[in-house]
Structure formats: structure tokens, C-alpha cells
Symmetry: C3
Subunit: 446 residues, 3 copies
């Protein structure tokens, strides 16, 4: 039964509504440089595991724009490949190695050079150029994640080329709404310059954000994304909000006030979304840059973000008090705290018209994590308060593998329901297609 369902789901186009692919790949359409730059360097799943077992980030050339010795990096990776046994990373990599490069012998110290040479050679071929792969992957939509300060020049270039692919920006305002974000003050100044608004006033700041959302929407953007430490929201009066903003830009806000400002900004973003139709994504619960020494040396995104307990039921209340009953607003919630699935998230999404549940995120997009998601949320939120799959990846070549895994696990879950006479076969087939294709399209308004 699982196989029957999967035969239908696997053929559907891939919609990737949230991820960290670079528009530049498709704007420029030049070959990916080498196997290590393609597979190892962008993927913190890989180097966090290597680092945990004593491999130094220096030896992996993390932080270098161009690799000095990609073969050496590749060999280190290959000789530690056994570390990934049982992890989803292993499955994504094997999928890409086999499906894309025809490499069936297992990667190891022995096969490292064979892999490197074979992949390097293929990457130079026309059918491995980014646009060719986009087509080969059966991608219908691919969304990137972008700062409000980004010119979106690559997105424009794609639009202006004669290549008809749907690559859309996503509005991620963290650099200009999170007072703790590196360079927050300069970011606000730049935002003012870019929009011609006076971002030193609350009204001008909000206008600048609205204007930037318009600019994103003109390039096809349908969603925003918010990576706050917590899910906390606030609903201050305009006067209180303005006063808090003044404090924040004066650099006088303490940690609590900075958190309150982020909380208020989620509510402001919801207000704007209700007006302009952008779907909100809230991704809370990651302690960023947990490893102080690595952060000082290598900066963000080096595999040292650690999940923490997340409360949604109290945190979202101010926003939901204001906008929770709006049917024209869509807020997609993610979690890194799986204990919230059945306790808070499914009950919230199974009640509030504006809420939907994003798929298992980050550390949890494994076969077991995907099964836990369905087993914990379906009972209360059903299938139709969920929104299909997100790959959320920086590793472009892993996209087909990730969606494939999600489809397999959803089909396995549905097959179990059919086997237990909890769902009819014909319904399961419809749901399998909904989960793989239709729900994501609807939720993200694509």
C-alpha cells in the first residue's frame, strides 16, 4: 500500500517554499566548483558531525570563500563517512551520489578519490549546470530566503532572462527587526537609504518595511520568515511601541526590552500580512551560536545552533488575541521542541483559523522525525492544518532526496492508516498527493 501511494506521490513536481538556495546559482548558471564546495562546505549537518568527532573546522576550510584544497577536504569527509550511519544526511548524500552521479559503491576513505574525480567531471557537463539541475529535479517553485537589505538583483536577472523558472524571494526581516542582530543600527540606516524613509522614527521604520515588502512581492515573494529565539509576541499600543522603538534605536534597550521589541514586531508583521497577503513563517526555539569560541572565529551558521524548550501557548497569545480569528491571514509555525507537537502546536492549529503547522524542521526532518510529526499532530490537527514539506536546505543537491524522503514517510504513515482500516485507499491516495503537492501550494499561495 505504501508503495502504491508513493508511486503516485513521487511523480509530482517539487515545490520548495522555504530554503537557502542562492538565486545567484540560477542567475549566473555557471558550474558548481567542486565536490567539497558543493557537498561539504554549505552543509552544517555535515561539518557539525565531523567537528563533534574531533575534525577541525580549519582542516575543512570552513569560512573560506574558495577552497584551497578541495580534494583534501573531500578525503577528510570521506574517511569519516561512517559517522553518518543512521542519519538522514547519509540518506540524502547516498541519494545524490547514486541518482545524480551514478556512484553505487559506498563512499569511504578508499573510494574518496574516485568520487571526487567522477563528481568533479560531471559538474563541468552542461546537464549539471544549476538551471539544468533545477529542471531535472522537477522543481516547480523554489523560494530563497533574503534580507530586506538584499537588492534581489539575482532574482531580477532570472526574471529578465528568457528562462522561465519560478524562483521567488522570501522576506526575512531578522537583520532589521532583531536588535541583537549583528549590525542592527547600520542595517536600519541602510533600510532607510534603500526606501527613502526615515527609519529613525517608528512610522518611518514601519513604512520602510512595508515598502520593502512591496519590492519583494513585485518579484513574486509570497511569504515572510521570522527566526526569533522564542515565539513570544506582544501587542503594545502604538504609543508604547513607538517609545520602545526609540529606546531600541538609542541602544538603551536591555535584553528584556529587545525581546519585547521582537515580540511586538511579530504582531506588526502579522498586521502587514493581513494587508498584503504575505504568509508568515515563525521558526523559533534555536539558541544561535551556542559555541562562543567558534562564533568568534567563524561567525554564524557553523553547526552550533542548539534547540531549546519552546512555549507557544502563552507566547503567541497577544498576537492571536488580535489576529487569531482572521481567515485571510496564514501563519505557519515551526518547532525544534518536539514535545510541543501534541501538547501545544496541534491543539493551536486545530483551532485558530490563521494557524498552520510547518513540517518537521531542521534536526527533525529525519524518517523518525517525520513519522513522529504525523503521529503526534494528525490526531488533533488532521492533515489539512499542515502545509506539506520544506527542505530548508543550503545544499541544493539534497533537495530531491529530502522531498523524496518526506513523500516516502507520509505514504508509509498513510499506508498504516489504510491497513488499520482508519482510512480508505482512495482517500489515502488523495491525501498523499495533498501532502506532496497541493497543500504547500495552497498554504504558500503559489
Amino acid at each position: 500500500m505504501a508503495r502504491t501511494l508513493y508511486q503516485h506521490a513521487r511523480k509530482l513536481p517539487i515545490i520548495s517554499p522555504h530554503g537557502h538556495s542562492q538565486a545567484a546559482w540560477f542567475a549566473k548558471n555557471v558550474p558548481f566548483p567542486d565536490p567539497a564546495s558543493l557537498f561539504v562546505q554549505p552543509d552544517h549537518y555535515i561539518f557539525r558531525m565531523l567537528y563533534s568527532q574531533g575534525v577541525s573546522l580549519g582542516d575543512l576550510e570552513i569560512g573560506r570563500t574558495v577552497l584551497e584544497n578541495p580534494r583534501k577536504v573531500w578525503r577528510i569527509f570521506a574517511s569519516h563517512y561512517y559517522l553518518f550511519r543512521g542519519t538522514p544526511t547519509r540518506m540524502w548524500l547516498d541519494f545524490a551520489f547514486q541518482e545524480l552521479f551514478g556512484l553505487k559503491r559506498r563512499l569511504s576513505e578508499e573510494s574518496a578519490d574516485l568520487y571526487f574525480d567522477m563528481i568533479a567531471e560531471k559538474l563541468r557537463a552542461p546537464e549539471f549546470l544549476p538551471r539544468a539541475l533545477f529542471k531535472r529535479f522537477n522543481l516547480e517553485v523554489l523560494a530563497t530566503t533574503d534580507s530586506p537589505l538584499d537588492s534581489l538583483a539575482d532574482h531580477k536577472a532570472i526574471r529578465e532572462s528568457n528562462w522561465k523558472a519560478k524562483i521567488l524571494p522570501t522576506f526575512r526581516p531578522d537583520p532589521v527587526v532583531d536588535p541583537e542582530f549583528a549590525g542592527f543600527a547600520e542595517n536600519l540606516a541602510k533600510l532607510g537609504e534603500k526606501t527613502g524613509e526615515d527609519t529613525s522614527t517608528w512610522a518611518g521604520y514601519l513604512n520602510a518595511l512595508k515598502a520593502t515588502r512591496v519590492r519583494f512581492r513585485e518579484l513574486g515573494c509570497t511569504a515572510t520568515d521570522h527566526g526569533h529565539p522564542t515565539a513570544r509576541t506582544a501587542n503594545l499600543s502604538p504609543a508604547q511601541a513607538a517609545a520602545l522603538f526609540r529606546r531600541v534605536i538609542a541602544g538603551n534597550a536591555d535584553a528584556q526590552q529587545q525581546e519585547l521589541f521582537r515580540a511586538q514586531m511579530l504582531t506588526e508583521m502579522a498586521r502587514m500580512s493581513l494587508e498584503d497577503g504575505l504568509v508568515m513563517q515563525i521558526h523559533p526555539g534555536s539558541v544561535r551560536n551556542h559555541n562562543r569560541k567558534l562564533y568568534e572565529r567563524y561567525g554564524r551558521d557553523v553547526g552550533a545552533d542548539i534547540p531549546m524548550q519552546t512555549n507557544y501557548v502563552d507566547a503567541l497569545r497577544p498576537l492571536l488575541d488580535e489576529f487569531g480569528n482572521e481567515r485571510d491571514l496564514t501563519i505557519i509555525l515551526f518547532t525544534l521542541d518536539e514535545s510541543a507537537y501534541s501538547r501545544e502546536l496541534a491543539p493551536l492549529a486545530g483551532h485558530y483559523p490563521c494557524l498552520r503547522l510547518g513540517p518537521p524542521w531542521w534536526f527533525h526532518d529525519s524518517p523518525e522525525g517525520m513519522m513522529r510529526f504525523r503521529e503526534h499532530v494528525t490526531e488533533t490537527a488532521g492533515f489539512y492544518n499542515t502545509v506539506g514539506f520544506n527542505d530548508d536546505t543550503r545544499a541544493f543537491l539534497s533537495i530531491p532526496a529530502r522531498h523524496d524522503m518526506a513523500r516516502r514517510m507520509d505514504c508509509a504513515f498513510l499506508a498504516k492508516l489504510v491497513a488499520e482500516h482508519r482510512l480508505e485507499e482512495e482517500e489515502a491516495l488523495e491525501v498523499a498527493e495533498d501532502l506532496a503537492y497541493r497543500l504547500v501550494k495552497k498554504a504558500y499561495r503559489l
Copy 2:
């Protein structure tokens, strides 16, 4: 093996020791009015899901005593029936449709009228009167949930009729022990009138509660139920408790003091239970009326209660310090926070003589939720510190389906133990019957 066990368990009478059936149904024994009033209106599982997908509560006629257009409500429900795929609600409904009404074609927009007409017709037949269904369901005991202010006239009427069914009240004192309960002050005044005690004094208040418990016990009540926001208990000195009570009834207690009062009252209730033998049920961890606007318009119990994290290990300590080692006291604990199963609840119930674990509750009484319960608590608390199943439902027709699901899941769990040579077949059979019938009878002293 699961089937063999289930063949034994399914035939046993149903004991429903905790739920929200209405004694009036059986006292009056008039036909249920129509399919929508029977299935949709009382079941917040149903309308919370519809509401989450944009159906208005107004269109569902929620809040009306008598439905204006039950067929229209039924059609809305039927056309959204696909939303319940994969949920236990779907299984309960299908069970009732098939077993009671012989409806085998799936409910949908197309079959809505067929269903409505067929069910409406059958509901007028004598074999669908409440008392007939009670018998057909093989119910041995059915407990309702009642306010201390309730006259229990319907319970009396049943007793005084020549119908010999065991329908028992449950003492749920929230309206008179929770200072945040709507109408608390008036409730206390009424309690005073009803009992002839001066409920403006601590001693009179406690006497009034004791007298009411006597009144409930005289009608067969064997249990109390406590739906506090948290599991917090306290053990103040009599003088401290009296002072807190004065503050509470003067309306001067802040949120913390109100919480402390509820906490103290759990300990007072335990003290009374040790004297009069009523079994305590503690149901904490629900944030009631999370949706402010709906609460203002429609009041309580409209599907907007959301679970939250619950701590038992610290919260119960004051009560357990006082009464935890009493073998003649039974306290049944429930949770909406499944992470507490293996961490706190099973270890507590596997040690303290007075503690037992209630079955998976509310959002968690699904096949997966039931399996998680057994998998997380059996290792530490065994089977004999659990108390069988509670349906906890307002939807009378779902009672057989819910107990059937619980029996199937318990048999599936036991069959797995037998298959893995962790339990002998003959033992599994005994446990299956214990879980379906004997444990609940013993725990609730029926």
C-alpha cells in the same frame, strides 16, 4: 494474538467512570432531537476542526439551545468531513454511523442528506431512546460530572424510576473552589443556602463542602474531579488557610493567592477523601478559553482550551508529604503534557501508594496517543497503577467507539509483549480483561 485478546475484551461491559453525559437524557428518556444536535453541537472535537479551517461557529449554530436549521449545520459538517481523516473523531463517528445506523457509504457533501434523514428517522424509534442505547451499549456504570450547586434532580429521578441502571454523579467542585471561576462569590453564597452553612467562614465553607459530598455519595457518587490550571498543591496551617480564604472571599486575592487557594483546596479535598472514601481525579494543564474573542461571544467549552507544560513532581509534593503514603486514599492523575508520562507520572505512580494514572486524556485519546501512553508508563508503573479507560465525552453516541478503540489498542500493545516473549499468552489475557474492566471498577470503588 491481538485479535484473540480483543475477542475477550470486546465482550466485557463498559464502565464509564468519567464523562459529560447528561443525567437528564436518562431521566426524561425522550428522543435525541436531530443528527446535528446529537453529533455536532456537543462535540468540541468536531467544531474546533471546522473552525480551524474557516467555518464560522455562527453557521454551526454553536451557542443555540435549539438548532434553527439542523440540516444546514449537518451539510456544512458533511462537506468538511474530509478534514477528519486520520483523526480519532473520524473513527468514532464512522463507528457510530456503521454500528448504530447501518450507514456504510462514507459521509460527504453528497451523502449528507441521506445520512441526515436516516439518522433522524432512527432517532425517533424506541430502540434509539437514551435508556435503550444505554442498554445496547452494554454500559454497566456511567458517571456524569456535576457541580456542587446541582440539585442532582435528574439523578434522583433515575433512582426513583423503576429503571435499574447505574448512573452516578461525580463531585466537581471547581465552581466553588476556584476563585477565578465565573460567579465564584455567588456560587459560595448558593452553596451556603443549599447546605445551611455559613460559607463566609473557613470552617463553614469546609462543612458546606463536606455536606455536599454526603449528598453526592447518597446518590452513588464515588469520585471527585478537579480541573485546575496546574497540579499545584499546598499544605498551609489551618490559620494560614483561613486567612487566605478570607482574602479570597473579600475579592482581595491576586493571581498568585488565587492559585495558592486552589492548591490548598486540593489538599483539603484529599483530607476529605481520606475520610469519606471518594476517589480524587486531578485533571490539570489546560489553558481554558485561550481565544479571547470567542470566549466573550460564546463562553466556555468551544474548542479553545489549549494544553500547556505541566509539572507534577514539585506541584504535588505538599499534598504527597501529607497524604502520599496513605493506602486508603486514591488520587488519579491525568495529563495533557505527554512528556510527563515517563518523566514524572509513571515514576510517581510507581512509588506512592495513593497515586494511580488515568488513561490518555482529551487530545491524546487517539490510537497513537493510547499506544504512547502504554509505551511510556508501563516500564515504570506497570499495568496495575493505571485505571482502565475514561471516555470523558459529551458525545453519548461515541462512548462504545471510544472504549472499543481503547480495548483494541491495549490488546495490540499486549500482543506485542507476547510476540516478543515478554509476557505469556495467559497473562496477557488476564491483563486485557483487567484493563478493559476490572481495574476501572477497583480504582473507582464501583
Copy 3:
């Protein structure tokens, strides 16, 4: 597939790197006294379950050094044996009864005397002496858990005997680093006497600890163990730490300062471990002696320790800021809060070079608990950031059963990966042996 893997894993020697066996058993090598002293008295899993169902600890003769009526205790146990259905305790006991004593009929009230007599007789035979059982169990290493105040005379006696078994002490400094430990002040004084250091000064206290670690290491100790209430760590300056120490030994520290002192001591222990190579084990999250009345009457370890929520991500940060990137330090983390597996522990261990995850601990070392552990941590931490199995038991005869269960469950998990084409058979075989034997040896530096 599971069976094939298990056939390999089951034959490997047992390494028991953490437990509560007594060195005295092997130093003296006299027969175990009787079945009740051997099975019931040391095992709080057993008497906590009996107590939860109304058996008094007095009737079980808990707290007596020598049992007055072991047969009576045994009969009580036997007649309540059905309570253990579905628990791992049942499996460990049945394993020992069958494999060691050839008892195949189930233990019950009826077979109680047969069991007692048969076991009592065998215990007097030479092949049931502690040293003979050690060999029969195929134990390669057995670590005990020892106070810094222990003379380790039994360990010395074993070393000095001509019996060549590897029985090693573990340094558990709780009695001298936890200000709330019973007799803390006297313990410090004794520590000073034993080491010739002035333990009333911060420097002397640290020196005394270092000297004791040397003494332990000389007897083969490779690890320390820390049973703090929380995982909190601190990294005070030497002056701050010295000031806090003065406050603590003066008896002026409040609860927060006592917690801060324990937190600081974890960091001090890590510093010493980096120097002397002892592996650290941190076992947080147990509320000790939750039952006040039992504690006052019977003292510690009577089955009344209850797990609580545990935060690792913030708590460990001060220690990790200082030592997290050290590849020569090994810190093994345990939890009683399973919600931390996928949320905090696997992400931390999958990043920091010094961190490893201990196996499912205490209430969670059941078949389901073991499967949950692998399912929740493997996706992010892989297999190679885990450290094999610990039995952590006071019940010597349960050691083979516990390791056998762990091996079976790991093989079942691996077989599932092979069946789902996520791992090749040959790899699974290697991992099965790693999990059963090689990882523990490496992690504990044996």
C-alpha cells in the same frame, strides 16, 4: 536480520563501566546470603513497585542489614510478581531465574517456595560465588561507584589477590562537592584528614580532590560520576569561587548559592579531567528523596527519587564555553527527561567534541526506552557520539540480562535500518559490535 546481528553481539564480553556492584563481593567471595537479600533488597525497582501497591517497606525488611525472615519477604515478592508484567524488571528477573537457576515455571505465590529453595541451594554452590559468576557473565570490566572517603580497601584486596579481574572504582565526589549532601561538613573534614590537605581553604580543598583522584586512578579508575540535581555549570573567577567556597563551608550559603557551588564544581572537575584524563559522567535531573516520611524513616535510595524537567542547553554553557572544544576531554551526559534527547542532547553531542551521550538511564532502560533513545538521538548524533550501554545496577545478577536487552534492542534498531535500505548489512554488523563492545571501551578509556 535482527537475529543475525544479535548472534554476533551476544557473544561479546560485557563491559560494565557504571554501576553499583560492591567490590566487597569479589574481595571476600563468600556466597550471597539468600534469594531475598540478593534479588529484593538491593533493587529499588522491585520494592518501589511493591510499595506503590500497598506493601509496606517494613514487611520487606528494607533497612535491615541482615534479613530476619527472608522466606517471608520472598513470598510477599512472589505473590505480587504479576505487578511487574510489562516492565523490564520482569524481564531481568525471568532471565536470571531461567538462565542462572534453570527455573522455567513462572514465579507466583504457588511457586514461591520452590524458587526460594532452589535459589538458596544453588547460591551455596561454588559456581555461584561472586567471582565464579563474574566469569560466567563474561564480564571484561566492572566499575563500581565510590565516595572519595572510601578507603577502596576492597579494590586493593582484589588487586592484591591472585584473581585477575578488572574491577575498577569510579570517583563519585557528591558527598564532598554537594553542600546539601548529608554530613557535608564532616565529609570535608575527613577528606582533609585522608589527604593531609587543609580542606577549609579553596586551594587545599581542590588539592585534596586532586590527590584523591590520583588515589583512585592508581586502582584503575578511569571515570568520575556526578549526580547533581540539575546540569547547571558555572565558571567563576578563582577569587569568586574561593569566596563562594568560604560561604559554603561557613554554612551561610542559601539554596541558590549551594546550587552555584555545585555548578562551579562541575567546571572544576572538568578542569581536573582535562589534566588527569578521567572521563566525566553527569547524571542530572533526579529529585532525590521525594517522599519525606520514607526518607526520615529509611534514608536514601528507597525508590522515591523522581525525575524532573532538565535543561542542558543553558545549564552546560559556562562549562562548554571554557572546555567545550577540547578534544582530550570526554563528558558523558545522561538524562531522565527524554524530551531532551532530540531537542538538546543529540544536537549538543553532535557538535561539541567533548560531549558524548550515555545510554537510556534508570527508568528508561526498558525495551521501549532503548528504542526511543536510538530513534531520537541517531538522526542528529549518529551512533558514534553514544557510548554503549551502562547497567547502573545494584542487582548483580541482573547484569547479563540488562546487557542482553540492550544488545537485542540495538540489533532490532539496526535491522530496521537495513530493512529500509538505510544501512548495509555489513555496516550494521560493525555498528552492532561497536554498540555492544567497542564504543564503551573507547569512551571510558578502558
